[in-house]
Amino acid sequence: MQHEPTHAAPVTLPTGRAAGCPFDPPAGLAQLREERPLARMTYPDGHVGWLATGHAAVRFVLGDPRFSSRYELMHYPFPGGPEGPLPPAPVGDMTGMDAPEHTRLRRLLMGRFTVRRMRQLTDWVREITAEHLDALERRGPGTDLVEAYARPIPALVICELLGVPYADRGRFQDHAHTLMSMEAAPEDRHAAMNGLLEYMAELVAAKRAAPCDDLLGDLARESDLTDEELVGLGGFLLAAGLDTTANMIAHGTFALLSNPAQAEALRDDPELAPQAVEELMRYLTVAHTSVRTALEDVEVGGQVVRAGESVTVSLEAANRDPERFPDPDVLDLHRRATGHLGFGHGIHQCLGQQLARVELAVALPALLTRFPALRLDTPADEVPLRTGMNIYGVHRLPVTWDED
């Protein structure tokens, strides 16, 4: 890894994406990665910490327990964030905890999300997907794929798994959406959080009264979680699996439609699906950025990150590192993209990743197969992009096809 040039000025986090490149990370990250894969960075609150863009540096920081995930230690990397220090993670928010508190929750849940358990859901995910393909066809050409396909499928899946009535989605989807926005005003965030927790509290009370055979029901019956923890964890699980997967489906479709030869390769060869999903995860990296803070001085590739300094880890820049992935800016579904950091790395690596893999490996090829002439119903440069969101992707994706 290169060293930081001694007199190089600290950078600020590049956030603007170049016009006409909806799939590429913000301009400026690539050059930084090449010259300063771990660069000093000035945070909006004035803190001078670090920005990691190289695959090796990002992976190192995420994998080392001397870097903490606790929100109250971190400096917020995006402009327009909260004034002053962040509050600690709300009860049940696993991503803002360190071991051993984190370990306790993770171990309670791990067994529910194994590769095998998730694969057993494949047929059921296929059914849900088929129903939504029918609905899409009924709505006809010009439909917004986000609303008709990308959002409902993951929502149904996570609801069913947790034991949340899908009919209640009006009570949590908007809140989850607000919580994922980097631009939401603190009051709105607060209100959304309360709304979500209020809903979960009612649900948890119902599960305690009459436990049923789903994840929340089992946790209510078998674990030592308090009501507050169960409510917080339930809300967190619900939110974690919604926007992420929805955006991978929608943005993944956009990327495939923009690379017709790749779409055709996937349509022609269903066996390619698992590999295609890894490559799309790498190429799109919709969960693009995370932050860790050093608990003690740590040497990272020859430079010393001091105790108390935050490191912003750019997952999207790391996933385009040419030292790890040759021709990184090319979408190539045949490449071996294993080792990408699209689900993170280290103890917080996505708990739901095996579920997300099943959903994506079903939903993307099924769409292409059902509508072989699927195409955008709007010029590509008019697709509204989720800039300024924690989870990148598209707000809407109008699509059309030939009716026979």
């Binding site: 995420l62 993770r106 791990m110 529910r112 194994t114 095998r116 294993t338 689900f343 103890i347 690596q349």
Partner: protein, 71 residues
Amino acid sequence: MDVRVDRDRCLGAGMCALTAPGVFDQDQDQGLVVLLDPHPPEDRHAAVRLAAGVCPASAVTVAEHGRPTTA
């Protein structure tokens, strides 16, 4: 090749079972790694090395020619 797993470090991410099925699995209750084959055949070595390399918790170790390596 000698493969070892550390169930205390494992976080149940499942990368091992996904990358080198037949060598690794996860137990059904806790999701912890289960080592099915500590001495996998030659044709599995590449997959096992990859699994050790991508395990997010560095819970998989591979020793080759008596030399332990963690990725």
